[in-house]
């Protein structure tokens, strides 16, 4: 009987198989190398990046994704600039799974490549590597003419969480592309500096509802979010219930007492999702002036709303009891 275990000798005849005349056979050999998990396979795979067959190169890009570190990254970088999109796309996906910061050295130069797809792929890969020396090139990439590249650059900067990047991120608030503005707002969440919170606050007035939604949510995550309490309260009148909902949630999370009434006014909105979050926020703030609103929805047709209303009343009662004790 053959061994019942998977083999660990996949590399044995690799070189020979990689030279097969038939591209399909080369592909099969590459699959085996990727599957081996043996770092010695990287060298074999690296030699295949110039294979004349695009399908083979695509397979190499996928197989290299099974590894990590500078050697595999160097081979993938060559595939990222491949003229065939299927190859480049596979390389970009593989690089995005890398975690070893040392891989950044070979990826960094591509941030300045002439093709937007390559620049995007490189920045996407750098994000998870979180290396400080990627900040400068990423900041420069914020000027890129391609919006998708700018979004990826924001990611690299945002993952690093360095206060020095705040001015650059702030300037993006006027970017012509809504995706860029949305990403920039989200990237400001970490900052402890007031200007970051102020910038997010300004985004509450953005023309795109998804940017406004992100701003309302991000203020709830930012340490200085409370500076925007009044503006968040104003957002409770936003034309989109999605934005109101996030504003309600952030106000609740920050326990803004003067928001109770304006939040209370949301409990009769036609959108049950909003009524439900309004009830929950009233509970989080637990101000006694929230009670009348909760009474109003005690018999709401939506069980989730009723449930949160009950929970909120309980919170208010508990707070009162504590104050009395």
């Amino acid at each position: 009987m053959a061994s019942p275990f998977e083999s660990y000798d996949d590399l044995e005849d690799a070189d020979e198989r990689l030279q097969a005349a038939d591209p399909a056979e080369r592909r099969v050999a590459i699959i085996a190398l990727g599957h081996s998990g043996d770092p010695a396979a990287i060298g074999h795979l690296a030699r295949m990046v110039d294979d004349p067959d695009a399908g083979v190169r695509q397979q190499v890009a996928m197989a290299l994704g099974e590894f990590d570190g500078p050697e595999a990254a160097a081979a993938l970088v060559k595939l990222l600039v491949d003229p065939e999109r299927i190859v480049a796309a596979a390389a970009a996906d593989s690089l995005a799974e890398f975690k070893d910061p040392a891989s950044a050295d070979v990826i960094l130069p591509l941030v300045k490549h002439s093709h937007a797809f390559v620049r995007m792929g490189a920045l996407r890969a750098l994000k998870e590597l979180r290396r400080k020396d990627t900040l400068k090139p990423a900041l420069e990439a914020l000027q890129d003419g391609d919006a998708a590249v700018r979004v990826q650059a924001i990611g690299v900067i945002g993952f690093l969480k360095l206060e020095e990047s705040i001015p650059a991120l702030t300037s993006l608030i006027n970017d012509p592309d809504a995706h860029v503005r949305r990403a920039a707002v989200s990237a400001l969440a970490f900052s402890h500096m007031k200007p970051a919170a102020e910038t997010i606050t300004r985004a509450l007035k953005d023309e795109d509802w998804m940017v406004r939604e992100m701003a309302a949510e991000t203020l709830g995550l930012n340490v200085n979010g409370a500076v925007a309490a009044d503006q968040l309260i104003a957002s409770l009148d936003d034309a989109f219930w999605q934005v109101r909902l996030k504003a309600v949630r952030s106000l609740g999370k920050m326990k803004i007492e003067r928001a109770v009434r304006p939040i209370g006014n949301c409990v009769t909105h036609e959108q049950a999702n909003l009524r439900k979050e309004a009830a929950a926020a009233l509970g989080e703030i637990a101000g006694a002036d929230g009670e009348p609103f909760l009474v109003m929805i005690a018999n709401d047709p939506d069980p989730d709303v009723r449930k949160n209303a009950r929970w909120a009343q309980h919170q208010i009662a508990a707070k009162k009891a504590k104050a009395g004790a």
Binding site: D22, A24, E25, R27, V28, I31, G55, Q59
Partner: protein
């Protein structure tokens, strides 16, 4: 009691022109959780040998040449 064969229209289809099983590929047969794919002795290509499919898709997703198509089994389509 003698056994009879029961007809069924199988959900997973392999495009013979694209399949490279004859070059040594066994990916779809390897990954299938229900072990229902085989390589045909006659054509040298992969095919669905048993209609016991969870329509989960690894066969299609992992095929290097895009030869596999998973369809929803007729009974629940």
């Amino acid at each position: 009691m003698p056994l009879a064969t029961y007809q069924t229209s199988v959900p997973v289809v392999v495009d013979d022109a694209k399949c490279i099983a004859d070059k040594g590929c066994t990916v779809c047969v390897d990954v299938c959780p229900l072990d229902v794919l085989r390589i045909s002795d006659m054509t040298g290509k992969a095919y669905m040998a048993y209609d016991e499919c969870w329509y989960c898709m690894p066969c299609e997703a992992d095929c290097p040449t895009g030869a596999v198509t998973v369809n929803i089994p007729y009974l629940l389509r």
